[in-house]
């Protein structure tokens, strides 16, 4: 009797074998590793994100040295469209429409542009650690701005020089990478590093020969990134270019998924990879260059925000592109609120985004390391 309990009988063994076979389903089925599951409710998440961005935008009008209530701000903002009681004075009107509105719009545009460009580049380079200045856009824009400051040109010229500088840098990097045989992705990254360091060295040279009383501090401050003094002209210029740049990324967002599989697989599915990559580079470069040209160099947004988008909205570029626009814009709005309130003088945005972005990024890396 005791023997029968410890050793399985022949019929038990058959039963075990039967269980094993039925557990495997039909004889050619793969044994399932993951159970069926539902996708998260992405619509609801988008709704929450939109509400959060609207809240951030309204709150950004209230925050600042010149104090006003949320009630006054909302009425003021509605006044051009709706007949509302006039409870504000001229100073308040001027602060809202001439100072805070352009600044808030520029913050949203730049944040949206940098994180969308980052998301696009990360997909194209099949590398989630890529930032929008991978091809040298920031260094190029910095050189353009430094040159304009060195030549004592006005603020408008600084913006234009920076924009052109960014385009020239990326164009050079792309042209160099096309001359290299073999792995396109690798040669583009290397060309970007090459061009970036060349342009950075040129910035250093201009700093060296610049007037130390006014030009050098201006160049240094510009490179740290700031939205102080944003005007409606900046909004129109950046707005038009950023919208022109984001539209192709938005329209091609399904194809960008296929591009993340790499050159060969994308080609085998009938994608014209050279053309698609060129369109992504041109679009992402346009919006990066115009952002840097009006705000200076603001790091980390383009690197960190796409990661957040993937955590909340998954990996599909159909959702990542709109999510990056909203999340990047909202994030920079928040950081800019801190930039103008935490100290008696403005803190450059580039410094703040690094202080906020680096710890967040470290946290994400540690979290991801634990998961895998």
């Amino acid at each position: 009797m005791a023997d029968a309990v410890t050793t399985p009988s022949a019929s038990d063994r058959e039963q075990l074998a039967d269980d094993a076979v039925s557990g495997a389903g039909t004889d050619t089925a793969i044994i399932p590793s993951v159970a069926d599951r539902d996708l998260p409710n992405y619509r609801f998440r988008f709704l929450l994100l939109i509400l959060a961005v609207v809240f951030c935008a309204v709150a950004s009008f209230v925050v600042g040295r010149f104090s006003m209530s949320i009630h006054e701000v909302v009425l003021l903002l509605l006044s051009p469209v709706f007949p509302v009681p006039e409870i504000w004075d001229d100073a308040m009107y001027s602060v809202v429409y001439n100072i805070r509105l352009p600044r808030i719009l520029v913050a949203f545009l730049v944040g949206a542009a940098l994180s969308t460009a980052g998301a696009a580049y990360q997909g194209m380079f099949q590398n989630p650690l890529v930032s929008p200045d991978i091809l040298g856009a920031s260094a190029g824009a910095g050189l353009g701005a430094a040159l304009a400051i060195y030549l004592y040109l006005g603020t408008g010229a600084i913006t234009v020089f920076a924009f052109v500088g960014g385009l020239v840098a990326v164009g050079t990097a792309y042209a160099v990478s096309r001359l290299v045989r073999g792995n396109t992705i690798l040669s583009m990254v290397l060309a970007g590093i090459l061009v970036g360091s060349l342009f950075s060295a040129s910035i250093s040279y201009i700093k060296l020969v610049a007037d130390t009383n006014d030009q050098l501090p201006a160049i240094t401050y510009w490179l740290m990134g700031s939205l102080a003094g944003a005007t409606m002209e900046d909004v129109y210029f950046a707005g038009v270019v950023i919208i022109i740049g984001i539209i192709p990324l938005f329209l091609l967002r399904w194809r960008m998924n296929v591009l993340t599989l790499g050159e060969d697989e994308a080609k085998s599915m009938g994608i014209n990879t050279n053309l698609l990559r060129l369109v992504v580079i041109v679009s992402a470069t346009l919006i990066t260059a115009v952002s840097v040209s009006i705000s200076g160099i603001i790091g980390w947004v383009g690197l960190v925000i796409p990661h957040f988008c993937r955590m909340v909205f998954g990996y599909d570029y159909r959702r990542i592109i709109p999510a990056a626009v909203l999340m990047g814009g909202g994030f920079l709005l928040l950081v800019d609120d801190f930039a103008r309130t935490i100290a008696s003088t403005e803190v450059p945005l580039g410094i703040l985004t690094a202080f906020v972005g680096a710890p967040i990024f470290a946290y994400l890396l540690i979290l991801r390391g634990r998961e895998s």
């Binding site: 590793s33 998924n257 009938g270």
Partner: protein, 267 residues
């Protein structure tokens, strides 16, 4: 549907070594061609030529009579699908999304998948027994499931020629056979399948043709039973084997059995 390779030669640089040296073969409907050969012998390079990734080859590769190197990727993709080795993905797309990517060729430039596309992808996944994985991350499923996902992606592409680069690499013992069974079913359904493998038994069990490539040349071409013998395997892989007849009910096929631990005499 036809694919004819004739006198195909290829070198990665002008005066470099010929990776492929005068390779000729053709395949017809229902063929399952197993390409054998040691590592670095040019199997993948040959696939890359056939898929139109490498275009400065000598000789000709004709797809339905048209030279591959003059066709654009969109045109090639209508007839030839590529099933790479399943690797861990950089971005963890859902299985359904991965399969949907195979339909990109049939969409307009700016379009995204619609419900019809999703139904189609789902049907392909169901036929391969992986429909329950649709919302799972491609990075979270097993290697065998990943390989089937890539096959589903190739099926929705509606190409009739499937090129598979070592479809059983990185699979465990059981999944190797499950995946190979699915693949031989596809050949029976009329697909042309060209796959590379390192296991001569897979050629015996599933292929109706085999191509042995060695030093960039085809050194054997024919049915596995006729061309794969102990001498050839010794020459190509340096392994001592007996090729044995094996009967199972009414079925009969050959199997490779290593002797003396395969390379025993060197110990």
């Amino acid at each position: 549907m036809s694919l004819e390779v004739s006198h195909l030669s290829f070198a990665y640089s002008k005066r470099g070594r010929l990776v492929l040296d005068d390779i000729s073969f053709s395949v017809k409907k229902g063929d399952l061609l197993a390409v054998l050969g040691p590592n670095g012998v040019g199997k993948s390079t040959m696939f890359r030529c056939i898929l139109g990734f490498l275009r400065d080859y000598e000789g000709s590769i004709r797809l339905n009579g048209l030279e591959i190197k003059f066709l654009d990727h969109r045109e090639i993709a209508k007839h030839v699908a590529y099933i790479p080795q399943s690797t861990y993905p950089v971005f963890n797309y859902t299985v359904l999304d991965v399969v949907l990517m195979g339909l990109t060729n049939q969409m307009n430039l700016l379009a995204a998948p619609n419900q019809d596309h999703i139904d189609e992808a789902y049907a392909a996944m169901e036929s391969l027994g992986i429909a329950h994985l649709r919302n799972a991350g491609y990075g979270e499923i097993s290697g065998g499931e990943r390989q089937l996902t890539l096959i589903a992606r190739a099926l929705v592409q509606k190409a009739k020629i499937l090129i598979m680069d070592e479809p059983t690499a990185n699979l465990d013992y059981g999944n190797q056979f499950r995946v190979m069974c699915r693949i031989s079913d596809l050949a029976r359904d009329g697909y042309i399948i060209i796959l590379s493998t390192h296991n001569p038994d897979h050629a015996f069990l599933y292929a109706n043709r085999t191509l042995m490539i060695y030093g960039g040349k085809v050194i054997a071409d024919g049915t596995p039973e006729n061309v794969l013998d102990a001498k050839l395997i010794k020459v190509v892989y340096g392994v001592d084997v007996n090729v044995e007849d094996y009967r199972y009910g009414s079925r009969r096929h050959k199997l490779c059995v290593p002797i003396n631990g395969g390379v025993g005499k060197h110990r």
